[in-house]
Amino acid sequence: MMPLWLGAVPFALVYTAAARQAGINPFEIQLMSLTIFSAPLQLSLVSLGVAGASFLIMLGVTLTLTVQLVLYGLSLRQLIGLDRKQRLAAAYFLTDGAYALTVTQGTKASFAYLFGAELSMYFIWNAGTLGGLLLNGGLFDPAKIGADFVVPLTFLVLLVPMVRQRADWLVVGLCALGSWALGGLLPSGLLVLVIALLAGFLGAWLTSPRKARNAA
């Protein structure tokens, strides 16, 4: 979890600085972190607000930046048995990072692990927001210390152990090409959804028993 915590704090500071510059009051800045809890979405909404975007545009951006969370919930439900209260609790705090850490647990994944990962990220994100407000939202560029590299690096080292057979290599390779080709065309949430769907269908097809028998 620690790399994800370290990656979250600089972005919380960037968010508070941008929000303060946009004239949003500290209460609303913290409230957005408490209720939305999504760095890319919060930063996007601040930018859209400054540009005078309509609520409909903000709604469209919200859906495209968060749509991959639907697949995460579906994937987690297959992995962990969750009762109604656990589903509600897990859904509120769901993020890319908590999902990534939980699925790598495989059969050892549990609601306790998922919720612990989610709550720790929630605490760090909101503590970072509060810290940024207390520091009066001074300008901070995460790229200067490589903090913007921490999050993709974390996902990369989580991905490596999941690639176990030839089909996995092929899926990852094609998904990387697809992400590179579509990266500039699609918003981030929609890109992740499209590539995740591609991986799902391709991987399921490549590992079908019929395909395995034909290959043998």
Partner: protein
Amino acid sequence: MADFSQESAKRRMTYLWPGLVLSLVVFGVRLSGFWLNRTEMSPFWARFCRYIPLGAFTALVTASLSRPDSHLWAKLLAAGAAIALTFLTKKMWLGMLGGLGAFWLLLWLVA
């Protein structure tokens, strides 16, 4: 000094209500995947779900590492080091440390 002008109040309202409504939308999106009926999946859909994280992680990494960036060359080399370390040692924490260490070392060498 507190600002109770109408303009200030209007600006405050502009962010509060859209923010609260959008937070409900985000919660709905997050909940929707969890709320689908947990019926027994066919083997095809079970294999499909197994590959979702591979696709999602690949997209997140590639999108981040393909943006134009003055440090991109260092990030790509450091990512290669992280992959090699994680693959050879089977320890993710070593891959993380090695990747970050390689990145900072490369930046320091060219600074």
